[in-house]
């Protein structure tokens, strides 16, 4: 299976801002934040079509998200997950002694995961804390 190593960043997007204010448990927030934006070349290298799910693995965790090219293009080798619950599953908490986690510029491995399910925000966060009881 094709695997690629990319440099990941996470920043704000207006869709994320609007959805966040509407509520982090809404479908809008899920749609806005559970995607990874990468260059079309990198999607091709993975041997998948745009909008297929991928697994993103970093030194501190992993997450399933949907791979898209996105409007604000990344150059080949760079990828972006909008700030929020999904991005923070993989953001390394190391801070270079400043208090600020490594939100921008950390290595990730991306691999196809077309048949894996993207988890919801609550499932990810409550799940990480042992509170997730499943969809009611």
């Amino acid at each position: 299976m094709a695997k690629i190593n990319l440099n990941m960043i996470t920043q704000r997007a207006i869709e994320e801002g609007v959805a966040m204010e509407k509520g982090k448990t809404t479908p809008d927030y899920f749609e806005a934040c559970s995607i990874i934006e990468m260059n079309a070349e990198d999607i091709k290298k993975l041997g998948i079509n745009p909008n297929a799910n991928v697994r993103v693995i970093s030194e501190s965790g992993e997450v399933i998200v949907k791979a898209v090219v996105g409007r604000q293009t990344c150059y080949p080798g760079l990828c972006h997950i909008r700030q929020g619950v999904w991005a923070n599953q993989v953001v390394p908490p190391r801070t270079q002694s400043t208090g600020e986690p490594q939100y921008s510029g950390f290595p990730v491995t991306v691999e196809p995961a077309e048949y894996e399910r993207i988890k919801g925000a609550l499932e990810l966060v409550q799940g990480a804390c042992g509170l997730w009881k499943g969809d009611e």
Partner: protein, 439 residues
């Protein structure tokens, strides 16, 4: 008759727009229409009066579910958690007013807590650079009226501060900038082709994490030195062109964002940005400004510097010996070293915005969330206390990104008689004093 309230402040981003018009229902409980706000600001006002808001505190039960409790009980529990903890952490304040921050400061001092705000994971490294290198800044009014060259470096206002470009930097016509957009040059430096890059005259697509080299190249050029043919992915002639425009400005401003503070180098990236601004002042007038994220995230820096002498990462565990040392007393580092034994999340969402390992560490101890809405933090905490939405259900003083204080207005009554942040912290403080006396 519906009532129109003008001159309302918007409680979302650091641009803190204060020209919003809100139409409220007859009985003053519901927001009907919002004018002038961006898509996000619009959502903030409408969301506040959406049915289904949480109006009473909730306590986590042994089976993992929440049970509604009274404010009195919630205040007692919060006070007891803070009194019993050896080193509680009170973090957040991205979305509250200065009155609430001040009241929380008193609670933190009483509890011997670490008091920290969202700058800790945002513009904290800007503070470090500013301490070292100064801050040749200005107000957004000066930018609007004077600036003819704007640099957006590692910031994307089209998404993060949607009205920044139209209110202050690119499009408005000011006193000396009567031609508006036509009279201004815009330079955007970003590794992505962002929507901000699309409105810029020059976009330098810097390699991610190599901003320091690019700043260094600009400084070298400004000092008359030669640079390599390619620096940080940018050809030499593009750098010379941009530096030439910057030197010829009548008044320029560098707006920089998270791309500098979150990448390798952190405060050093900001440090050299300030040095470049200083160099540019050899030729003409240049200023620099941090694109602060929330409408009042400049507030805690101002309020707590006045109260305690430090803007963030304030360790009060040694009681009368207050100190600040990011890396040691910063929230994420404290969490990762398991140094705190209680956590208060106020006016932010650490559950969604901290790296997940930090969340897991903090969750080992009592977690209190003080927030108007259901968010990730509220859904994993042991105690959730809802409060009034600042800028919608209560007014107060906020500091805009250029450190200009603005009086925000209340537009509707708080839903279901919920308390404001200030009232809540004052009550927690009083209860802590009572518990002290009982002991």
């Amino acid at each position: 008759m519906a009532k129109v309230i003008t001159g309302v402040g918007c409680p979302y981003c650091g641009a803190s727009c204060d020209d919003i018009e809100v139409t409220v229902s007859d009985d003053g409980t519901k927001v009907l229409e919002v004018k002038n706000a961006c898509a996000i600001g619009n959502q903030v006002f409408h969301h506040a009066s959406t049915p289904g808001r949480i109006t009473s505190p909730r306590l986590r039960q042994p089976d993992g579910t929440y049970k509604e409790i009274s404010y009195e009980e919630a205040i007692d529990r919060a006070a007891r958690i803070l009194v019993n903890a050896k080193k509680p952490l009170i973090y957040g304040f991205g979305s509250t007013n200065c009155e609430g921050m001040s009241a929380a400061g008193r609670v933190a001092e009483k509890a011997g807590a670490v008091l920290d705000n969202c700058a800790s994971i945002c513009h904290g490294s800007s503070f470090l650079a500013i301490f070292d290198n100064g801050y040749p800044s200005c107000t957004l009014g000066e930018v609007k009226n004077r600036a003819d060259v704007i640099v957006y470096w590692a910031s994307n206002p089209a998404h993060a501060h949607p009205r920044h470009m139209s209110r202050y930097s690119i499009f408005p016509r000011g006193f000396f900038t009567g031609k508006g957009h036509m009279g201004r040059k815009i330079i955007c430096i970003d590794p992505r082709v962002t929507d901000t890059a699309r409105v810029a005259d020059i976009h330098l697509q810097v390699q991610q994490g190599h901003d320091y080299e690019l700043f260094n190249a600009f400084r070298t050029v400004l000092h008359g030195g030669d640079i390599p043919d390619m620096v940080a992915g940018i050809p030499k002639e593009k750098i010379l062109e941009a530096a030439g425009i910057m030197k010829k400005a009548r008044f320029g401003t560098v707006f920089y964002g998270m791309g500098l503070c979150h990448s390798d180098g952190r405060n050093h990236n900001v440090d050299i940005a300030i040095s470049m601004t200083r160099d540019l002042n050899e030729f003409t007038k240049w200023t620099i400004m941090a694109m602060r994220g929330h409408y009042n995230i400049a507030g805690p820096g101002v309020v707590w510097s006045w109260q305690f002498g430090f803007p963030y990462c304030i360790d009060m565990t040694k009681r009368d010996l207050v100190h600040m040392n990011p890396g040691e007393t910063s929230s994420v580092d404290l969490a990762m070293r398991d140094e705190v034994d209680a956590f208060v999340n106020i006016g932010t969402d650490a559950g969604a915005h901290f790296p997940i390992p930090a969340v897991q560490h903090l969750k080992k101890h009592p977690w209190i969330t003080i927030d108007p809405n259901i968010c990730m933090a509220s859904e994993i905490s042991d105690l959730h206390i809802p409060v009034a939405v600042v800028g919608v259900e209560t007014g107060g003083v906020v500091y805009r990104m250029d450190n200009v204080p603005i009086q925000f207005k209340k537009v509707v009554e708080p839903a279901g008689g919920i308390l404001t942040d200030e009232e809540l912290f004052d009550k927690i403080y009083e209860r802590m004093c009572e518990l002290d006396q009982e002991a």
